[in-house]
């Protein structure tokens, strides 16, 4: 694996996966991440925005501003390119998770023997 950090790409994967089902704004998305991961992944909540901006810049997301109760909220949705990008991330994640799982299984088996 050439990726130096196991967490690289994980926020992108979670965000794209959750936004695939419906459009959300930042706060809503953070709550959805917390709920979906049972608080296992906890980031500083503001950290999500640079990921959203970068994904939008790559064309994986699109945003629209919507006035709500006198405030302007930025809602994000996944584009067609984003769906393809997500498929790539999922495939990469499955490969990594499979490889790590294999190592853990072998180590546990060796310790038991």
């Amino acid at each position: 694996m050439t990726n130096p950090s196991f967490m690289n790409g994980v926020p992108e994967l979670l965000i794209l996966r959750l936004l695939e089902s419906r459009e959300m704004y930042g706060y809503e998305l953070v709550q959805a991440i917390r709920a979906a991961t049972d608080d296992a992944i906890s980031l500083g909540e503001g950290v999500v925005y640079p990921v959203l901006h970068a994904l939008e810049r790559q064309g994986a997301l699109k945003s629209r501003r919507k006035p709500v109760n006198g405030r302007t909220r930025v809602y994000y949705t996944v584009t067609r390119g984003g769906t393809k990008h997500l498929a790539g991330l999922v495939e990469q994640w499955n490969r990594i998770a499979g490889a790590v799982g294999q190592v853990v299984k072998e180590t546990t088996h060796a310790a038991a023997v």
Binding site: Y25, Y27, E45, G46, V47, Y49, P50, H53, A54, V74
Partner: protein, 240 residues
């Protein structure tokens, strides 16, 4: 009273993040903070505790800046390629101005000929057209460099570009802008007219060179004075 996350925004701008990303990021953070505050108050925290918890949940300024700065794609073009924006762009803008002017003037003259059915390329056009084209050319030669300098100054200021690059941009604009010329030679009945755009032209002569040097000096004096006044005003604002 400064708005929440204003210092963070200033820090990101100075680090080269594009102003549109900074504006949206701070707006989204403010909105997120308000949502967290409401959530904490609804959960029973008093106002001060809710603010503290909301601030802790959203992340420290340090962490919020670090994640933004870790994404080079969010940096502005001016911060990634300052030599292009503040070194080459002024020259390209002047060239574009000249080319645009010539295209518009040629189009106008052709249109006039087509609409009036004459007088043709060899005959002098009416006085109003001559006056219009002369005024347009004068504006391009004398005012366009100053306007380009003002645009680059605003771009640099908005993006918190180091002063050195702004000075380079203003200097290049003033000097090159002193030497660019857009002119017209009207037809005299025998010879067709001619539109020209050039640096140090259209007819090279010592008087022309001196004129261009004086124009560049006047540009530098005007723009330099404005920049100096702005620096003084800005430093006194920060000293308060």
């Amino acid at each position: 009273m400064p708005q929440r996350f204003e210092q963070l925004g200033e820090r990101l701008l100075r680090a080269g993040i594009a102003p549109r990303h900074v504006r949206r990021y701070t707006m989204e953070l403010r909105d997120h903070f308000d949502d967290l505050l409401r959530e904490e108050i609804a959960a029973g925290s008093d106002s001060n505790a809710a603010k503290e918890r909301a601030r802790a949940r959203i992340g420290s300024d340090e962490a919020l800046a670090a994640v933004m700065l870790a994404r080079p794609g969010l940096r502005s073009i001016a911060s990634r390629y300052p030599w292009a924006v503040f070194g080459f762009a002024p020259v390209l803008m002047l060239i574009a101005t000249m080319v645009g002017a010539i295209v518009i003037e040629a189009g106008l003259l052709r249109l006039h000929i087509a609409l009036t059915g004459g007088p043709g390329l060899h005959l002098p056009p009416p006085m109003w057209l001559k006056l219009f084209v002369s005024a347009w050319n004068a504006w391009l030669v004398y005012a366009a460099p100053l306007m380009i300098a003002a645009i680059l100054f605003l771009v640099g200021g908005k993006q918190r570009t180091p002063a050195g690059w702004i000075v380079v941009a203003l200097g290049v604009t003033c000097i090159v802008g002193g030497f660019h010329n857009v002119g017209v030679i009207w037809p005299d009945g025998l010879h067709p007219g001619r539109l020209s755009a050039s640096f140090l032209g259209p007819q090279y002569s010592r008087a022309m060179v001196i004129g261009c040097i004086l124009r560049a000096a006047a540009n530098l004096a005007l723009v330099g004075s404005a920049y100096f006044l702005w620096l003084r005003r800005d430093s006194s604002r920060f000293a308060q």
